[in-house]
């Protein structure tokens, strides 16, 4: 079992504060750029006008207000949600390979999407979103049940293994369904992931869930830091580990479930941003969780902007852009500090 704790990786509150405040500024700047650049040219002044003196007859005002602003907001929320879920998963299971999708959230959502595409092919995007969210709950429920039913209880390793097995099975079933009913192409849009079709209604559903998720995650952060020292230590220090794992799972379900329901599967952020954050701020989940949220949001907004500029007017899948931007940085950090993660 890889050990995520190490003596020489104490928390660095100063750097963390800088990341939080500076990161917020960078995030706002990136969102501004994201609204500015796109297939249609827009000027800075137009952005202000479209917010404060909205003119319904102007096309660029319409584009900014109804397409680009919700898109930038959704990208920020989803990036933050995925990164925080990943941090919680890795902290709870003490496994650097754990990502939010390992809890069965993503595969459950994909499975229900496949079912929904067969049962109600003409459903609206909001209905599909609800199906996906129900599926996320189903997948997580199965994983948690499988892990808990056994006599020895829910150990972190068992949670990770149960998650991997359930994920593999649900994915196979979805592939089988999509091959058999010939909906592979519809599914592939969802698998590719992205925020290009986001509307205000999505943001309105997403925002409250993510905000509740952030608050719960911050409340849990202290316990996760202790859990990360090991199950026995945590119990010795008076933590109710079963309760924490249950609460952590619920938070991951809320955050990741909401994110994948809107944007499909966007890999990399949930797996790698928590590592990058841990390299930067040290091992204290009270810093890791909020900093992950900021960094995840910046990466997804930036990647979404870049994905529109690579090959206009076509969009490159945002998951590939996040990986291509993030991997070099990640490898550099892994090399520099890897021995003591």
């Amino acid at each position: 079992m890889a050990n995520i704790t190490a003596a020489d990786k104490g928390p660095r509150p100063l750097l963390a504060t800088v990341i939080l405040i500076g990161g917020l500024a960078v995030l706002l700047l990136t969102m501004g750029l994201s609204i500015l650049y796109g297939a249609a040219d827009v000027k800075y002044a137009t952005i202000w006008q479209s917010i404060y003196q909205f003119d319904a007859s102007s096309t660029s005002h319409q584009i900014i207000r109804n397409l680009r602003i919700p898109r930038a907001l959704a990208a920020a929320l989803i990036g933050a949600a995925l990164a925080m879920s990943g941090a919680i998963m890795q902290g709870m299971t003490r496994n650097p390979l754990a990502s939010p999708s390992i809890m069965g959230v993503t595969s459950g959502a994909a499975f229900m999407m496949a079912v929904a595409l067969v049962v109600t092919p003409s459903a609206s995007s909001i209905t599909m979103m609800l199906w996906a969210f129900a599926g996320a709950g189903l997948g997580t429920g199965i994983v948690f049940a499988v892990g808990s039913i056994s006599k020895t209880g829910l150990t972190p390793v068992k949670l990770a293994l149960a998650g991997t097995a359930v994920t593999a099975m649900l994915n196979s079933l979805s592939s089988g369904i999509s091959i058999h009913f010939n909906i592979a192409k519809d599914m592939s849009f969802w698998y590719a992931g992205g925020v290009s079709s986001v509307q205000w209604v999505h943001v309105k559903l997403l925002a409250p869930i993510v905000i509740i998720g952030i608050i719960l995650a911050l409340l849990l952060a202290r316990s996760i830091t202790v859990m990360n020292l090991g199950e026995d230590v945590a119990r010795g220090l008076g933590q109710r580990t079963g309760l924490i794992k249950f609460a952590g799972t619920i938070v991951v379900l809320l955050l990741t479930g909401a994110a994948v329901s809107v944007a499909g599967t966007i890999g990399f952020i949930g797996l790698v941003i928590p590592h990058i954050t841990r390299f930067l701020v040290g091992i204290n989940y009270r810093w890791i969780i909020p900093c992950s949220a900021i960094l995840g949001a910046i990466l997804l907004v930036a990647a979404d902007t870049v994905s529109r500029m690579i090959n206009p007017p076509f969009e490159t899948p945002v998951g590939t852009v996040t990986a291509l931007i993030g991997v070099p940085f990640f490898l550099y950090l892994a090399r520099r500090e890897g021995r003591s993660l």
Partner: protein
């Protein structure tokens, strides 16, 4: 206790071996053209008719042999990676070896497919060859980037997931630039399939498996100490860095050869080592042979099912592996 486990290991090994033989006979029998066990016996001893002989020797037997070899190779590779990285979730897929092979294949299809540079007779060997090169490239990249006065398990895992993400992204970018036919070919390869095989693939794969699986079992003792952790292993007199490099090399050779012929069959290398450890305990000399047999059995069974359940169309073998292996694994998790 030890004697009992030894006896149990032999019994389980024997049971698995018999199960493989039974599946082989059953699988030879099933298919679009059905051949009864008696006729199989006749054909094998050289007294069958020409059609049966062709179906058996040119189609079914090579395919099943390949399934057995890939099953054993992938599984042992996964077990070695789990022990070296000391991570239960490690397998050739998650640390980027499959993705490296996949990228090489996608690149090959993108650059050369349909062009006249490569003649048809050569082309069936070019895809496995590029997969092998891709797998080795990925492994070399992972090893060199994680090297810093030696490689630590955690750095291997982290660099592995980084390399995996990068190759996965590159695969998508090149796939999107392909025309629909090539796109489908690449997708079929990436999801793992062992159809359309012949004896030359068996001959290409066999030496790797025969050489490296026994070598892995021979390395069992040092794997046991490596799994205890670096400090303990060093204290017990193991040359940690050298042993780790040897074991990694074996794992990559097995995964590379298997991926080259069978494509990216997921989950096999992850789940089967866990299953065999649950049966015979975590001593490598014991569970590695059991894992090899079990992986071979699982892949042959899955291939037989995938070939027959919706015949004449085939279900990708990787899907069946996940469903069978996953459900048995979940059962074991709940039971213990």
């Amino acid at each position: 206790m030890s004697k009992q486990t030894k006896k149990k290991t032999w019994l389980i090994g024997l049971a698995l071996f018999l199960a493989i033989i039974a599946t082989l006979v059953l699988s030879l029998n099933l298919g679009v053209i059905r051949i009864s066990p008696l006729e199989i016996f006749r054909t094998v001893t050289g007294n069958g008719d020409a059609q049966n002989e062709m179906v058996l020797f040119q189609f079914r037997l090579p395919r099943m042999t390949i399934a057995l070899l890939i099953g054993a190779g992938m599984t042992v590779s996964g077990a070695l990676l789990q022990s070296v990285t000391r991570n239960e979730l490690a397998d050739p897929g998650i640390i980027g070896i499959n993705a490296g092979a996949g990228f090489a294949v996608v690149l090959y299809i993108f650059l050369f497919e349909g062009s006249t540079v490569v003649s048809d007779s050569l082309s069936i060997y070019m895809m496995p060859l590029s997969a092998l090169i891709g797998a080795i490239t990925a492994a070399v990249l992972i090893y060199t980037i994680s090297w810093k006065n030696g490689v630590s398990p955690i750095r291997l895992v982290l660099v592995g997931i980084g390399i995996n993400s990068a190759f996965a992204a590159l695969i998508i970018i090149f796939q999107l630039k392909m025309d629909p036919d090539d796109f489908t070919r690449a997708t079929v390869w990436l999801s793992g399939n062992i159809s359309g095989t012949d004896w030359s693939y068996v001959l290409a794969l066999l030496p790797w498996i025969i050489l490296f699986v026994p070598l892995a079992i021979y390395k069992g003792k040092s794997l046991n100490t490596l799994y205890l952790g670096e400090d303990v292993a060093q204290g017990l007199g193991t040359k940690v860095e050298r042993e780790r490099m040897t074991v990694l090399f074996i794992a990559v050779a097995l995964a590379g050869a298997s991926v080259a012929v069978g494509g990216g069959i997921a989950f096999l290398g992850l789940v089967v080592p866990h299953l065999s450890k649950k049966l015979v305990g975590p001593t490598h000399e014991r569970f590695l042979p059991i894992a090899a047999l079990m992986g071979a059995l699982l892949l042959v069974v899955a291939d037989t099912i995938g070939r027959n359940i919706l015949a004449p169309s085939e279900i990708p073998v990787g899907l069946i592996v996940s469903i069978i292996g996953g459900s048995y694994f979940i059962y074991l998790l709940m039971k213990t």
